[in-house]
């Protein structure tokens, strides 16, 4: 097992000698069991297919071998030692060499063709997988928009982006949000926009960071922290450093009316 996977928690087991191997194993198992304290969430269906397809492709490529025909027979020189028989022998050898070369070239050509097809297939698969991911995300957004518990909030551009506008669908029950923005200027290099969930007590809870396309549009999925699901009363978008922020540092570009 890769021991560096245990990073960050070694202090829990430090000081226990190797003789306490059983105890260490039990403590590690207990630590791992903390995973049961979170609610299991079924991953999207497409992810399973994607992962299994991925490993199948890897399994196939790791066992793929190229077999080349090897012609180990050589024309034998006849026992006759006359020059004419030697010439005939050499001529046959050359013909055989030419034939073998043609076969090899044909094999190489087939291989390149197959590799091309394989590459095309991989490219198509990657495209199909991306389409599946996009479709799954579109479905998620669509589900969010049609949930009875969802509310739709309008976000208006501020002085720095008066033409910008946004709509946010928010489900207080699950904390899921889908944000649609238009006419938002592209952020400068090294900066991103960030969504904020704002509580009635004016606490700003950080949400997802995002950028826009060339037309200033973006569709963003974000989740409010579980403890704050029911508290998000208003929303805002600010400009932040590339890695995002834990509290707003930049100008507000979009805000809901209660912000």
């Amino acid at each position: 097992m890769d021991y560096e996977d245990y990073k960050g928690e070694d202090f829990l087991f430090a000081g226990l000698s190797e003789e306490c191997r059983d105890e260490i194993a039990e403590l590690r198992a207990t630590f791992a069991a903390l995973a049961h304290s979170v609610t299991p969430v079924a991953p999207p269906v497409h992810l399973r297919a994607q992962i299994i397809e991925n490993i199948k492709t890897r399994a196939a490529s790791s066992t793929q071998t190229v077999k080349a025909d090897k012609d180990t027979t050589r024309p034998r020189l006849s026992n006759a030692t006359s020059p004419s028989s030697v010439v005939i022998g050499q001529g046959t050898w050359r013909l055989g060499l030419v034939a073998a070369s043609i076969v090899l070239l044909a094999l190489l050509a087939s291989l390149f063709w197959l590799l091309g097809l394989s590459s095309q297939r991989d490219s198509l698969r990657a495209e199909r997988d991306r389409a599946h991911v996009e479709l799954a995300r579109e479905r998620e957004v669509s589900d969010l928009l049609t949930q009875a518990e969802s509310r739709i909030v309008a976000l208006n551009g501020t002085g720095v982006a008066p033409r910008a506008e946004g709509r946010l669908a928010y489900d207080r029950r699950t904390g899921r949000a889908a944000l649609f923005v238009h006419n938002l200027p592209s952020p400068p290099a090294g900066r991103v926009y960030q969504l904020w969930f704002i509580t009635p007590g004016d606490r700003k809870i950080p949400g997802a960071t995002f950028s826009t396309d060339a037309e200033g549009n973006a569709v963003v999925r974000s989740d409010a922290p579980a403890e704050e699901r029911a508290n998000a009363a208003a929303f805002a978008i600010t400009l932040e450093p590339q890695t995002g922020s834990t509290s707003p540092t930049g100008e507000i570009y979009l805000a809901s009316s209660a912000s």
Binding site: M1, D2, E4, D5, Y6, K7, G8, E9, F11, L12, A25, E26, L27, R28, A29, T30, F31, A32, A33, L34, A35, H36, S37, V38, T39, P40, V41, A42, P43, P44, L47, R48, Q50, I51, I52, N54, I55, K56, R58, A59, I205, P206, G207, A208, T209, R221, S222, D223, P225, A226, E227, E228, T243, G244, S245, T246
Partner: protein, 175 residues
């Protein structure tokens, strides 16, 4: 599951993906990142299957360790700790109680672990959660909680041992 056994891999995925995905969502707080990380984890499982050593722990322990490690790497790289774990650690909010809907969906193991967590002192629970869900070192935990380093280590070890006692010797049954 050894390398090459795709059916066993699929069975492993079906058995553990929900709990791993829930864990990744909890740590990362962002669905797309959790999905990417889950893919990475299972790819790593496939590639490293031959190195799995039962003497070190069960497959579940291995999977959870891989998933946590990947998620915490991402969290640190992202450097934007906006997940609930941060707030929960600061507030009195080690939120292990589930509402009625969640309760109905929880497995028996999940309910047992949650109940066990409520039985250990809150400061021990908080320390374990910071180590577990945010991957903080003991120094980072000590700084966050403004507690001495030795206190943090003592609480974490005591909390973990207490949990082990409560869950019983057969922690593996949670796997």
């Amino acid at each position: 599951m050894t390398h090459g056994d795709e059916a066993a891999f699929a069975a492993l995925y079906d058995r553990h993906s929900a709990i791993l995905f829930g864990l990744l969502l909890r740590i990362l707080g962002e669905r797309a990142e959790a999905e990417d990380t889950l893919q990475e984890v299972f790819l790593q499982v496939w590639q490293k299957a031959s190195t799995f050593d039962e003497a070190r722990g069960t497959a579940f322990t291995w999977l959870v360790t891989l998933a946590r490690s990947r998620a915490i790497d991402r969290l640190r790289a992202r450097n934007a700790r906006y997940r609930a774990g941060t707030e929960a650690a600061r507030n009195d909010g080690m939120h292990v109680e589930a509402d009625a809907v969640d309760q109905a969906m929880l497995s028996e193991q999940s309910q047992t672990v949650r109940k066990a967590l409520l039985e250990i002192p809150e400061d021990q629970r908080r320390t374990l959660f910071l180590a577990y869900f945010e991957g903080l070192t003991q120094s980072e935990i000590a700084a966050r909680l403004e507690e001495p380093l030795g206190t943090v280590k003592t609480r974490a070890r005591a909390g973990l041992k207490k949990l082990r006692e409560i869950l019983g010797e057969n922690t593996e049954r949670f796997h």
